[in-house]
């Protein structure tokens, strides 16, 4: 495959809408990601004997949104689950390589995955509020069950702050004690975001956070993501390429190799990836030729 010729900006013709206000021009420097973001080096992951990721490298720039796109089954979710050690929750799943959070390897010896997960929060594909808890208790769950805070006033303050950050406060402030399951799907997903923010993570991972939501709720979450990017480092997995184009600063493209292991084939500023991709396969994917 010839890579050297820059292909025509077909992606722009395809009508991807770019809405990034402060669009990064240059690739993120590794030093920057090492200092305040995340760096993934030579990450391999397996489910039993089946390799799901091969030699993946990725930089998550601090206070930026990094999108991971690619066809189904290419290992996007596995990658993002490796970033807070949720991958190993699946029986017989393992990973090797380095994942550096502010320069520290979260797979290093003696690192407690529980501590890693407090620093790197996660939002899942389907909204998964705790059904036995109220709206308030859901947001407070991370604090209470970690034994962080005891005082009620402190919890109330954190809950309100997190719900405001998740742009949900105005909608739920009168039903904080109602069961979380009474909220709409989009509200539940923002509740899950608030729940993740309440433990004050450094990085927020989102695994296809809008795939179970309607278009209006999706747009709300996307606006929210841009808002959150002012404070948090965000990595989002999506198979919606428009979404990646709309919200992300950097985009990583993954593909499945012959043996079905996921590989990273392209990584760069989102506009560059969508308009002048270096890889023919990236262009084929974003112009809709496959995937």
């Amino acid at each position: 495959m010839t890579v050297d010729s820059r292909h025509q900006p077909e992606a722009a013709i395809m009508g991807y809408e770019m809405r990034i206000e402060h669009e990064p021009q240059a690739p993120v420097s590794e030093a920057e990601a090492l200092a305040a973001g995340m760096v993934v080096r030579e990450l391999n992951a397996w489910y039993g004997s089946c390799q799901a990721l091969r030699d993946v490298n990725l930089l998550a720039a601090p206070k930026r949104i990094t999108a991971v796109i690619g066809p189904s089954g290419c290992g996007k979710s596995t990658l993002i689950r490796c970033l807070n050690r949720m991958h190993e929750v699946v029986p017989e799943a393992r990973a090797s390589g380095q994942v550096l959070l502010r320069g520290e390897d979260i797979y290093g010896p003696g690192v407690d995955p529980v501590v890693v997960r407090r620093r790197v929060g996660m939002v899942f594909q389907k909204p998964n509020p705790f059904p036995t808890m109220s709206v308030l208790d859901n947001v407070a769950a991370g604090l209470r069950l970690n034994g962080f805070l005891v005082r009620r006033s402190q919890i109330a303050g954190t809950v309100e702050k997190s719900l405001r950050q998740a742009a949900l406060w105005d909608e739920v402030k009168d039903k904080l004690n109602r069961p979380a399951t009474e909220l709409s799907g989009g509200q539940q997903q923002r509740l899950c975001i608030a729940r993740a923010l309440a433990v004050e993570p450094e990085v927020v991972l989102m695994d296809e956070p809008c795939s179970a939501l309607d278009p209006v709720a999706t747009l709300k979450i996307e606006d929210l993501m841009r808002e959150l990017a002012k404070e948090y480092t965000i990595v989002i997995v999506t198979h919606n390429m428009q979404q990646a184009a709309r919200v992300s600063d950097y985009t990583a493209v993954m593909m499945m190799a012959e043996d079905r292991a996921g590989e990273m084939i392209e990584y760069g500023p989102t506009r560059q990836v969508f308009t002048t991709p270096e890889e023919k396969r990236t262009e084929d994917y974003i112009t809709g030729r496959f995937g």
């Binding site: 807070n84 949720m86 899942f124 769950a141 970690n146």
Partner: protein
């Protein structure tokens, strides 16, 4: 007449469907017959004395089985206190912690234990507790019933905990909540009703057991409230004694007591089903 393949298939289908219906009817019919028979025989002898009076000497009219009811409550209480927590613990282990191999071993063991004749469990506890303590007791009987409840409890709580979606556990773990806290504060509350249902069914099963009590509680025609202090009566034991004796007054009381026992078990099971349906 030419019977087409289609007609033949239809006939076979109707025949099989009919057979299934007959067998289903038989299975349910047995329960209805037992319930009806016991009710018909026992309801006439049901009276307040049965619940408030002690047994009277053989051949005398009147009296009741209050001591047996109290004994049953004590024994089942002890069995529940031991059997339910241990059973739920085993269920948690099976659903949350055990790997494939160890889980299969534990599960198989539990299934075998379910099949062990209850009289064998009685003899086992006789050797383990009664001989060592030097006397029959409510504690020994409670332990025997707890052993009977244990596998039922373990398997049902495993099933109920497995019904809690994996996404709930992941949500908690991703918040940096430790494994045991996740189970305690997220998984168990979500499975609460199912666990309670399993506990009720296990209690109902244990409540009707007789054989293991022969070797552990022994029976006692007087009221005993002691946990460790000596023989104690139980409803099922009293029914067994009275039913195998020659006195017709006792036969009547045995029927009435059976009535009470079977209705109690029925109500507990019904409560368990209703609880489960309301989820």
């Amino acid at each position: 007449m030419i019977v087409s393949a289609y007609q033949r298939r239809r006939a076979t289908n109707a025949l099989m469907l009919g057979l299934c219906a007959v067998f289903a009817f038989l299975a349910v019919g047995v329960l209805v017959l037992i319930l009806g028979f016991v009710l018909a025989k026992g309801i006439g002898s049901l009276n307040i004395d049965l619940f408030t009076e002690m047994p009277v000497p053989e051949g005398e009219p009147g009296g009741g089985v209050a001591n047996s009811m109290v004994g049953s409550l004590i024994i089942i209480g002890i069995a529940a206190v031991i059997g339910i927590p241990v059973g739920i613990g085993a269920g948690i282990f099976l659903s949350e912690y055990a790997g494939h191999r160890l889980g299969d071993v534990v599960r198989f063991t539990a299934d075998v234990l379910t099949g062990v004749p209850s009289i064998v469990i009685g003899i086992f506890v006789y050797g383990l507790v009664v001989l060592r303590m030097g006397n029959f007791s409510a504690l020994a009987a409670g332990i025997a019933l707890a052993i009977i409840m244990l596998p039922i409890m373990a398997r049902s709580s495993e099933e109920m905990l497995r019904l809690v979606p994996h996404s709930q556990r992941e949500a908690a773990l991703a918040l940096g909540i430790s494994r045991w806290r996740t189970i305690l504060s997220v998984v168990i509350p979500a499975a609460q009703r199912g666990l309670l249902t399993g506990a009720l069914l296990a209690v109902a099963r244990a409540a009707g057991e007789t054989a293991p009590l022969i070797f552990t509680a022994l029976g006692n025609r007087f009221l005993s409230l002691s946990v460790t202090g000596g023989p104690i009566d139980a409803l099922s034991l009293r029914i067994y004694r009275y039913a195998t004796g020659p006195y017709s007054e006792q036969h009547d009381q045995a029927w009435a007591a059976s009535c009470v026992l079977i209705l109690t078990v029925f109500v507990i099971s019904l409560a368990a089903r209703l609880l489960l349906r309301r989820r």
